[in-house]
Symmetry: C2
Subunit: 241 residues, 2 copies
């Protein structure tokens, strides 16, 4: 799935507010009406993207008694979905496949527009930061986060559950005035990517050392990490199985 | 100026609807309140972009008695403008400068996303066209339009005025699945770029020959040119003086 999350209150369905899951379920219910034996099936997404977060590689699954081709189903769903949501590819899943539980890792990209002046056409999908950003320092700090750690400093878990996650990749690259953070992890705490980005930007701006970043991570001190940066810069780019 | 035109009814002010000019005048009136001696000044734009058309290089002028620096004025305007409109650069104009009348030419870029499936993050700023598009044929046809011609086949003039315009540049390039049309002209008829693009796409899709395109141009036959393609793909990129 690819979607522009700007006008949605996140992936997960909530009564009375526009959500990606809600829009998908409405479209699917209309299409498979009568062939799903009663109530329309639930859609399960690999990543519960927050309000305003985009996706180019979200993966979902749903059950359906659709008997025609997957090409026809994809075309029908795309014709009914709002213009800011699309199914990019659709296939019959192997037995037992579960979009969320079968996923081994998820990749997110956070885009920073590193320039002084506002740029409306680019700020829809990136977060503008002015001043210097030291990519080398940000990468040094980010490297401490790679591996299996308790990420309590960077996000809240659902009540009672553990805050240990495994990061396979976390690095920054610069291309012109666009600075991008790519992160791959088995799973994330709520707002974890955006809190990591905010704190790493502090390192890049020289207001925090990479050693202090490591200390915050090791101590699980959420009081010293940065608030989450805006959702517009975040995009779920890939889910691995 | 840079703006995302998606949510505006074009540049030119119209009572009761959101326009770029209207938003600018509201912001300027608030800032220069008291220093403009009475009514806030009018804003004059180089190009009257249509509803839904974007800009990264719109040029405007206005009169003001602002006595502090241009940097401060730009910062103040940008702080008050909606997020989808921004002043990218601001300077004191030479005496007698007029954003519209002093302009010698305007450059527009039309972006086509040449792929089968919907792509929400990219379709906000481009028009999706599936199937083959023959860039060589489109460039051959476009070359007939370069120079001074009567463009009556591709747009309507304000009543009674002439339809002769001079095109300095009109060409297509492909980069991956993005196909872009760059056009530079002294001035344009209403919807002229989007009608040219629509008709050139017919040539690229093989439903019209480049010779037929030339014939339509020479005969000024608006009944045989294509309807205008959607505004989302169009962007005013530069104004030359």
């Amino acid at each position: 799935m690819e979607y522009d999350g700007s006008d949605y209150h996140g992936f997960q369905i909530q009564p009375g507010t526009p959500t990606i899951q809600g829009a998908l379920e409405v479209a699917l219910a209309e299409i498979t009406q009568g062939c799903d034996e009663g109530a329309p099936g639930r859609v399960v997404g690999a990543g519960r993207t927050d309000a305003g977060v985009h996706a180019v590689g979200q993966v979902i699954h749903f059950d359906s008694l659709w008997s025609r081709s997957t090409v026809e189903l994809q075309r029908a769903v795309n014709a009914l979905l709002p213009l800011d949501i699309a199914v990019r590819d659709l296939a019959v899943a192997p037995d037992g496949f579960h979009a969320r539980y079968s996923a081994s890792s998820r990749q997110y990209v956070y885009s920073v527009l590193n320039q002084e002046e506002r740029s409306p056409l680019r700020e829809r999908y990136s977060y503008r930061v002015s001043g210097e950003t030291d990519i080398a320092a940000m990468n040094k700090a980010a490297s401490y986060a790679i591996g299996t750690h308790d990420f309590a400093a960077f996000g809240q878990p659902p009540s009672g559950s553990i805050t240990v996650r495994t990061l396979y990749r976390a690095d920054w690259t610069r291309e012109g005035d666009v600075v991008e953070f790519v992160v791959v992890a088995n799973a994330y705490l709520r707002k974890m990517v955006r809190r990591l980005v905010g704190t790493l930007l502090w390192v890049g701006q020289g207001t925090m050392s990479s050693k202090e970043f490591e200390d915050i991570l090791l101590k699980g001190d959420i009081g010293r990490s940065a608030p989450s940066v805006p959702p517009c810069g975040l995009c779920l780019t890939r889910v691995n199985y």
